[in-house]
């Protein structure tokens, strides 16, 4: 954006282009103002760690494939419900505090952006479930979630992009190097990364 003094001179074409560009960039940047609650990130992380611990306990029990699958789906369904539920309540509260609505144009864009990544993760889970391969699903979840978060990051703060990239790199690394450590890496990523991001976000914007 060019500097202009108080008695702004008439713009030439180049300056007009620069001003139009600056206006567009500012409008785009402004839509990235977050209503994300840091506490919801921490709670989602804790829910994920609890899910990992319960899954670890499940793995140590002698159960049939069918029982394992049912319990596995139950555990992670509860984790997702807890995480999304906390996020919804806290984000709604924060949005109200800053005078915004949780269902906004930006919110819808974010949901649409996350859709393909999360949808792919759900389809892969169904496929792994059918073939009793759920113990190998974790790197796929990290990759699909990383894709979803990276897509959301395009509409949000730069740090969300970094979070998505962290999931993608860790997911790819786990898949390539240590797929057997998938559950532990789930605790590190879905647990640790969410807690770190939530704490960082809270430190900047407050806990609620």
């Amino acid at each position: 954006m060019p500097d202009q003094d108080e008695n702004a001179s008439e713009p030439d074409a180049r300056e007009a282009v620069a001003n139009l560009r600056a206006i567009r960039e500012l409008m785009e940047r402004s839509t990235k103002h977050s209503t994300f609650s840091g506490l919801s990130g921490v709670l989602a992380g804790l829910a994920s760690i609890a899910g990992c611990w319960l899954t670890h306990e499940l793995q140590n029990q002698s159960v049939t494939n069918q029982q394992y699958s049912i319990n596995f789906v139950l555990i992670w369904s509860l984790v997702i419900i807890a995480a999304i539920g906390c996020d919804y309540i806290l984000t709604k509260r924060k949005a109200a505090l800053v005078g915004k609505k949780i269902v906004s144009r930006l919110g819808k864009q974010m949901v649409a952006a996350a859709g393909p990544g999360l949808g792919t993760g759900a389809l892969l889970t169904l496929n792994y479930l059918q073939h009793h391969m759920l113990m190998d699903i974790y790197p796929m979840w990290m990759l699909c979630y990383g894709c979803a978060v990276s897509s959301v990051g395009l509409f949000s703060q730069r740090e969300v992009l970094y979070l998505g990239a962290a999931f993608l790199f860790t997911g790819a690394g786990t898949l390539a190097v240590a797929p057997q450590a998938g559950l532990m890496m789930m605790a590190v990523t879905f647990g640790g990364f969410h807690i770190i991001y939530g704490c960082w976000s809270s430190r900047r914007d407050g806990w609620l």
């Binding site: 702004a8 074409a13 500012l26 409008m27 402004s30």
Partner: protein, 121 residues
């Protein structure tokens, strides 16, 4: 007028550019105020802290620009207490929205006139 246009093929673009320049609103045509209006039109509203951090302006500087825009009737101000802390929120008025749209149109006309001028040269 028609004689001038006939004699100078670029005269139409030049007249359009001049007309557009006449529509440049000095209240908006300034770096900080253009930024304030851009943010407020994109968001619908914003508080003082957000504007200050996003535009990287000092308290005094931002206040001066906000006051000018408010005096022109481009903004409306709401002061309230949120969790015992004062919070000042700014919203664009219909006058402000219209003025900003006219400003954008004027910039676009200047660019268009310049482009046509280059193409016909």
């Amino acid at each position: 007028m028609n004689d001038i246009i006939a004699a100078h093929p670029n005269a139409v673009q030049a007249f359009e550019a001049l007309e557009a320049l006449g529509n440049i609103d000095d209240a908006i045509h300034q770096k900080a105020r253009m930024g304030i209006m851009s943010l407020l039109l994109a968001l619908g509203e914003a508080d003082f802290k957000f504007l200050k951090e996003t535009l990287n302006l000092s308290d005094g500087n931002l206040s001066t620009h906000l006051t000018l825009l408010e005096d022109r009737g481009y903004l409306e101000v709401q002061k309230e207490f949120v969790r015992k802390k004062p919070r000042t929120t700014y919203r664009p008025t219909d006058t402000g929205r219209n003025a900003f749209q006219r400003y954008i149109l004027a910039l676009e006309r200047i660019v268009k006139a310049s482009t046509e001028n280059v193409e016909s040269a």
